[in-house]
Symmetry: C2
Subunit: 178 residues, 2 copies
């Protein structure tokens, strides 16, 4: 999984081959095919591996509201640029409906928007949303901002501070905690 993540992050799904992954892991292509009959199977396993790894290893609290969750996860992500690159490259490749990751990413974005919208509505019920802020627009914007910041940070790590910019966004849409 680590080898496949590395290959797909550097070359994309289309540019990365079974042979590249087999080379990194020091295994024959035949042995690799025993575990993953197709490259598509390998991709879907890598996406699941990435999700599980990020959630399990980050230690991010999931029951303290979206602000805490998003800021903690974004701090953690700074230490795992390879997994962030993997996500960024595969998401864009998957725009194409014939890409084997397409359904995964369409569902992922839909779930993220729905989850964050719920988080913003919870904050609204506590009177924390600033006037005029729509929970659904804020949810899509938060996902977008985070993805776009990570892209810029991967290109020029010294020039973009992802957690700081996300904190600034929350400051703009939420009133200060009492």
């Amino acid at each position: 999984m680590a080898a496949a993540s590395q290959v797909f992050a550097s070359h994309g799904y289309r540019g990365g081959s079974f042979q590249d992954v087999a080379n990194v892991v020091g295994m024959s292509q035949t042995s690799l095919l025993h575990y993953f009959p197709t490259k598509r199977d390998l991709l879907l396993a890598v996406l699941e591996y990435r999700d599980t790894k990020l959630v399990n290893e980050s230690g991010v609290p999931l029951d303290e509201g979206i602000v805490c969750e998003v800021l903690a996860q974004s701090e953690y992500n700074v230490g795992v640029p390879g997994l962030i690159e993997l996500y960024t490259v595969l998401a864009s490749e998957s725009i194409s409906p014939d890409h084997p990751g397409h359904a995964y990413f369409v569902a992922r974005f839909g779930n993220l928007r729905a989850g964050y919208a719920e988080g913003f509505r919870a904050l609204a019920s506590e009177g924390r949303l600033r006037p005029g802020v729509d929970p659904d627009v804020a949810a899509a914007s938060l996902v977008a901002l985070w993805d776009g910041l990570q892209l810029q940070w991967l290109m020029a790590p010294g020039e973009v501070d992802v957690p700081a910019a996300l904190r600034a966004y929350f400051d703009q849409v939420l009133t200060p905690t009492p």
Copy 2:
């Protein structure tokens, strides 16, 4: 250029081949190689073509401040999903330092951040920035938000309204026009 844009948008630079482009345009690979000696030359020409086309055809006013410019360009972009997909796919592929588009995108993001920061500073001098908004953070965030929204819109066009979300962002960081 249109054929190469289409091929690189659908398959990425790495997944798209000279032969694919030659097929779309109805030209032999040899003839295509006469104009573009390497695939790298073709990529750089496509990126320049895209920039020129977007600026020339959009009719977006460039001297009326960033709010007007960004909103008008984002409205125009809704009508040219192929060019937006091309940009989104190539930008992510180009994170890798050995990708021939890497230098182009590093420079592009740097220039966009610098230009928008200047725009936000101009608004600050008119007293239009809300308290606590940093022009440099707002500039990186605007670029990020726009890129991320376009990615979600390309995945699910009916679910994300890019110009509306950008307008909401400006409302959050700027005070209303007097």
